[in-house]
C-alpha cells in the first residue's frame, strides 16, 4: 500500500506517526473530582480564619488534627486494599474539615482524631470509598462522637485568648442549648437567650456575623452563606437543597413557637446552630443526597422537618446532624421514587401509545 500511494509517503514527513484512538466525546469539562473537592475546601477557609480569630489557635489545631487524621486513614486504607490512592483528592480532607466544624473547639484532640478515623474508615471506606457511602461521613463521625463522649461533646469552652493551650475552663452553653434547658424547666427560653446577648437585634447580629459560642461551623452564618452561594454559582450544588431546608426550618420554627402559634423567631432558628453549615455543605453532599433536583427538594423538606422535631421535642438542642443522617437513610428510597424523567411526550395518545 505504502509504495503505491504517494499520500502515504508524504505522511511520514508531514505528520506525527502515532494517533491515539478513543471513544467520543474527545473533549470534556475541566472539572475534576480533586478540583471540586479542593474548591469546596477553599470556600471554608474564611470560616476557619474567622474561627481562629474567635476561638484562638485551638480551632486551627482541631482542623489540622481532624483533617490529617482523615487523610492518613484514607491513605492507609487505600494502601491496604490495594485500590487507587486518592487520599490527596480533597474529599478525605473535606470530611475531616467538616467534622472539625461541627464539634466543640475544646474537645480533646484524640477524640477529634478518633471521630475523623471513624468517619473515613467506617462511614466511607467500609462502603467502598468515595461515591459509595450512604451516610455523610462527617456527620456520621459527629454522631459517633456525640454517642461516645456525650459530656465532652456538649461542653462549650469559651476561648478568648490566642494561646494554644488557653483553656480557661469557663464553660457556657450555646444559644440553642440555653433555649432547650430553659424550656425544659418551663421558662421562657427565648427571653433567656436574648438576655445573654442584650437585645434581639444584638443576638441576630452576633449570630449572623459570627460572634457566638458553639462549634467552628456555627460561628458565622454570613461567611458560610457566602461560600455556599459560590458553590451554587459554580454549580457544584443545586440551590434547591439549602433553600428548601432553611425555609422549612424557618417556617416551622415561626409557626410552632414556644409561646403558641406564630410566635417563634424564624431568624433565630435559621442562624443558630450549625443549620447554615448543614444546609450548604452537608445536606448538599453529592454522594449522600438524592441525585435529581426533585428528590433533593423532598430530601431538604424532610430534613427541615426533622430539624424542627429534634430541636423542639428530642433530647438534643441541635438537630442538623441527625436530620441529615436520617434523611441519608431515605436517600436510596427517594432515588427509587424520583428517577430521571424524559420530557413529557407530545405525541397524541393513539400515536404515542406504544412508545
Amino acid at each position: 500500500m505504502a509504495d503505491k500511494n504517494p499520500t502515504t509517503a508524504a505522511n511520514e514527513r508531514l505528520l506525527a506517526p502515532l494517533l491515539s484512538v478513543a471513544s467520543s466525546p474527545h473533549i470534556r469539562t475541566r472539572e475534576t473530582i480533586p478540583r471540586i473537592m479542593w474548591t469546596v475546601n477553599a470556600t471554608l477557609i474564611p470560616v476557619a480564619v474567622w474561627a481562629v480569630y474567635i476561638f484562638g489557635w485551638r480551632a486551627l489545631l482541631q482542623i489540622v488534627v481532624s483533617g490529617l487524621a482523615a487523610v492518613i486513614t484514607e491513605l492507609v486504607i487505600q494502601k491496604q486494599r490495594g485500590v487507587a490512592r486518592t487520599w490527596h483528592d480533597g474529599s478525605a480532607f473535606l470530611t475531616g474539615l467538616l467534622l472539625a466544624f461541627c464539634i466543640p473547639v475544646g474537645l480533646p484532640l484524640w477524640m477529634t482524631a478518633l471521630g475523623s478515623v471513624f468517619s473515613v474508615a467506617v462511614a466511607k471506606h467500609a462502603f467502598g470509598g468515595l461515591g459509595q457511602n450512604i451516610f455523610n461521613p462527617a456527620h456520621a463521625g459527629r454522631a459517633f462522637l456525640l454517642a461516645s463522649f456525650p459530656v465532652q461533646m456538649t461542653t462549650w469552652t469559651k476561648m478568648a485568648s490566642l494561646a494554644p493551650s488557653a483553656v480557661d475552663g469557663v464553660t457556657t452553653a450555646t444559644p440553642l442549648g440555653i433555649l432547650k434547658e430553659a424550656t425544659k424547666l418551663g421558662h421562657d427560653g427565648m427571653s433567656e437567650v436574648i438576655a445573654t446577648f442584650g437585645s434581639r437585634q444584638a443576638m441576630l447580629e452576633s449570630l449572623f456575623l459570627g460572634n457566638v459560642n458553639g462549634c467552628i461551623g456555627e460561628v458565622s452564618a454570613l461567611l458560610i452563606i457566602l461560600g455556599g452561594v459560590f458553590l451554587i454559582y459554580k454549580r457544584y450544588i443545586f440551590w434547591q437543597g439549602p433553600v428548601f431546608y432553611l425555609t422549612t426550618v424557618a417556617l416551622l420554627g415561626w409557626v410552632f413557637g414556644h409561646k403558641g402559634l406564630f410566635t417563634g423567631d424564624p431568624l433565630f432558628q435559621l442562624l443558630s446552630g450549625g443549620l447554615v453549615l448543614g444546609a450548604f455543605y452537608m445536606l448538599t453532599d453529592m454522594v449522600t443526597s438524592p441525585i435529581t433536583r426533585r428528590g433533593q427538594i423532598v430530601f431538604a423538606v424532610g430534613g427541615g422537618l426533622l430539624v424542627f422535631l429534634i430541636r423542639r421535642y428530642a433530647g438534643y438542642p441541635e438537630g442538623v446532624c441527625y436530620s441529615i443522617l436520617l434523611m441519608n437513610c431515605a436517600t436510596p428510597m427517594i432515588d427509587r421514587i424520583f428517577v430521571a424523567q424524559p420530557p413529557r411526550s407530545d405525541l397524541s395518545q393513539t400515536e404515542g401509545g406504544q412508545a
Binding site: 480533646p108 477524640m111 478518633l114 467506617v122 459517633f144 454517642a147 461516645s148 463522649f149 456525650p150
Partner: protein, 246 residues
C-alpha cells in the same frame, strides 16, 4: 400446626428458617482448639451463629450478661437436643414442631426461674431476651436436623458443641464491647481514671458496628489464611499440575 405440614411448601419451617438465617453447621473439629480455630477464623460460624441468635447479641454490652446468655443458650441447646432425641420415637411427625417448641420452652422457663432465683440482677439485665431463647432459630433447627434423627448421647454433644460455639461468639463480641465501651472487665475498671470509654460501643449502634467490623475482620483473616493455604498446596502440587496441564 398439624395442617402446616400438608399446606406449606416442601420446606419444613426449620428448613425455611435455616434458609433465611444463612447456612450454619456444627464444626467438624472435635478438640476445643480445633473448634475455636475453625469457628473463629475458618468457616466463621461464630457470626452466622450470632445472627441466627440475633436477640442474644443485644445483651453483649457487658461480659457478665454475655456469659449468662451464652451459658443459658448452651444449657438449653444441649438439653433440648437430648430430650428431643429421647422422645423422637414418641412424637408424631405431624406435631413435631410444637413438640420441640414445648421442650425448648420448658427448658427456657427452667432457666428463667433459676436465674430469677439466684441472679436477680442478671435476670433483670437480660430482660425479655432470656425468654426469647425459645425462638432462636438454631435451637429449633438442631432439634429438627440433628436430634430427631440421632441417638441421645450424640445429640446431646451436638448441642453441647454448638452451644459452646455460641458461648464463644457471645464472649468474642461481649469482651471487647465492655472493655472499649465501658473501660471495664466484669464490671471492674481496668484502665484507671484517665481512660474515657467510647460509650457508643455499648449502645445499640456500637453492637451492630462491632459485629459488622468483626465479620469483615474475620473474613479477611480467613481469606488471607485460605490464600496462604492454597499457595502452600499449589507449591506442593505445582509440578504435578504443570505436567497435568501439558
Amino acid at each position: 400446626m398439624s395442617e402446616n405440614q400438608e399446606t406449606s411448601s416442601a420446606l419444613s419451617p426449620a428448613e425455611q428458617i435455616a434458609a433465611i438465617s444463612g447456612p450454619f453447621r456444627g464444626s467438624k473439629q472435635t478438640t476445643l482448639s480445633g473448634l475455636i480455630d475453625d469457628g473463629v477464623f475458618g468457616k466463621n460460624p461464630v457470626f452466622v451463629l450470632a445472627l441466627s441468635l440475633c436477640p442474644a447479641v443485644a445483651v453483649t454490652n457487658s461480659v457478665q450478661t454475655s456469659l449468662a446468655m451464652g451459658l443459658s443458650v448452651w444449657f438449653v441447646l444441649s438439653f433440648s437436643n437430648l430430650f428431643t432425641s429421647i422422645f423422637r420415637n414418641y412424637i408424631n411427625p405431624k406435631v413435631r414442631m410444637p413438640a420441640y417448641i414445648l421442650i425448648i420452652a420448658t427448658l427456657v422457663t427452667m432457666c428463667e426461674l433459676f436465674m430469677s432465683a439466684f441472679f436477680p440482677v442478671l435476670y433483670q439485665a437480660l430482660g425479655v431476651y432470656l425468654k426469647l431463647i425459645v425462638v432462636f432459630a438454631i435451637i429449633l433447627a438442631r432439634a429438627e436436623v440433628f436430634a430427631s434423627k440421632n441417638k441421645p448421647i450424640p445429640a446431646f454433644f451436638d448441642g453441647f458443641g454448638m452451644g459452646l460455639g455460641f458461648l464463644i461468639a457471645m464472649l468474642v463480641i461481649g469482651v471487647p464491647r465492655e472493655v472499649v465501651g465501658s473501660g471495664s472487665f466484669w464490671g471492674r475498671p481496668i484502665f484507671g481514671e484517665g481512660y474515657q470509654p467510647i460509650l457508643m460501643i455499648i449502645l445499640a449502634p456500637g453492637g451492630f458496628i462491632t459485629i459488622g467490623l468483626f465479620i469483615g475482620l474475620f473474613r479477611s483473616i480467613g481469606a488471607a489464611r485460605e490464600r496462604a493455604r492454597a499457595a502452600a498446596r499449589l507449591e506442593g502440587a505445582g509440578d504435578a499440575m504443570e505436567v497435568k496441564r501439558v
